[in-house]
Amino acid sequence: MKIIVSIADMKVTKNAEDTLITYSLGSCIGVVIYDPFAGVGGLLHFMLPDSKIDPQKAQKNPWMFADTGIPSLFKEAYKLGAEKERLEVRVMGGSQIMDGSGFFNIGKKNYMALRRIFRTNGVLIRAEDVGGSGNRTVTLEVSSGKVLVKSSGDEVREL
């Protein structure tokens, strides 16, 4: 089944027939994790780096922020039998406006926050496609663990 992950949303599954998909990552970031042994896959689409800006919101929807969304993604995958050592982690998104070096750099802040969290927890990134100004659509095929990325106007490619 095709399962859509919306903005500030997360889904995990161990059903080999599932495909997880998230559309149009602008400055948001998509994190895909996959345990080939357990056949468990997860996709998080977070929007902002830090829940401190609105802790109440984070309680209602932890997937809006990197610092609350990422732990939740891993935890839910563990519940389905995934194990940290086996997880393949891929990161996509974090785009910005063309001259967004100064102000509208939420994409970059999102990526920095994610790197910080991964570093503290010893998580390695297998592959990534971040930055620039493209919109990305990300798909995870649970049966194969294949991750496909389509960036603005480009062909779909495997990451």
Binding site: G26, M64, S95, I97
Partner: protein
């Protein structure tokens, strides 16, 4: 016939914009107009009236009692919101089709438009200003040019993409270079054709270059800001991605900082979840 002429011919073929909406806009923008003026204008259009009543009695408003007339609706939800509903309902069909040139599925451009219009309310509130129906309209219609330009963008996509990716030209500049006109300028022509007020026309026309017009009206700058935040959120993002410029002055101009932008995105996500049902965007 030149390419630009071909494109402009499509503008002339667009259906006219419902006159009721224009009249309602004039009234809502005028502090001296009365509830009766408003009712007089709207009740002529039976389908709009029925639509408003149906929506007022839907779960979205969860009003305590049944609304039977336009006048009651006006009292309960206020003229601003009434106008926003009418405008949105009368515009959605224009935006709802797929825009293949921009790689947008059916409904995506409409989602982007609604997100921008919601941001107009969020941002004006943060700036301590009154809600502005004129800004709401400009934000909702800002990308109307894409509806017409889409098929031409599709035909010339490789050339446009080359300029954007290899020469770091913004998507709208690339449209202009390849097609002779970009979707913002085209949107200006369309809203002009539809007889929208001048400030809405320039807000649409300059939404990717807010400081290149001498129009002093803040609506132009604010429309740009609404669009940028909607793009960052990724709502209805297409093949043009975030390949646009946004001058740094825009935030200094309103004394806003990064955190404000983040809060706008949070509020947008909140509100977007609520209107989805109302506007049938899924």
């Amino acid at each position: 016939m030149s390419l630009v002429d071909k494109i402009l011919r499509k503008v002339a073929q667009l259906p006219p914009f419902p006159v009721v909406v224009q009249r309602a806009l004039q009234l809502v923008a005028n502090p001296n107009s009365s509830a009766q003026d408003v009712v007089d204008v709207i009740q002529f259009d039976q389908s709009i009236t029925a639509d408003v009543l149906r929506l007022c009695n839907s779960a979205y408003f969860s009003l305590q009692r049944k609304v039977n007339s336009l006048r009651e609706a006006l009292v309960l939800i206020g003229f601003n919101q009434l106008f926003e509903i009418i405008l949105s309902r009368q515009s959605s069909h224009l935006f709802s089709g797929p825009s293949t040139g921009y790689d947008l599925q059916r409904g995506e451009l409409w989602r982007h438009s609604v997100a921008s219009s919601l941001l107009s309310g969020i941002i004006t509130k943060r700036l301590g200003r009154q809600p502005s129906p004129v800004l709401f309209t400009a934000a909702l219609l800002h990308d109307i040019g894409k509806v017409v330009l889409s098929e031409f963008v599709k035909d010339y996509f490789e050339e446009i993409k080359k300029l954007v990716q290899e020469k770091s030209v913004s998507f709208s500049d690339a449209e202009k270079e390849v097609l002779g006109i970009d979707h913002a300028e085209l949107g200006g022509r369309i809203t002009e054709e539809w007889k929208f007020p001048k400030v809405i026309v320039s807000s649409v026309r300059y939404h990717h270059a807010p400081f290149s017009t001498s129009d002093p009206d803040e609506t132009v700058r604010l429309t740009h800001l609404c669009d940028v935040v909607a793009m960052l959120s990724g709502i209805g993002g297409g093949s043009d991605g975030l390949f646009y410029h946004s001058p740094e002055e825009i935030l200094n101009h309103y004394r806003l900082n990064e955190e404000d932008i983040e809060r706008f995105m949070i509020q947008l996500e909140d509100q977007f979840g609520q209107v989805k049902e109302l506007l049938n965007v899924t």
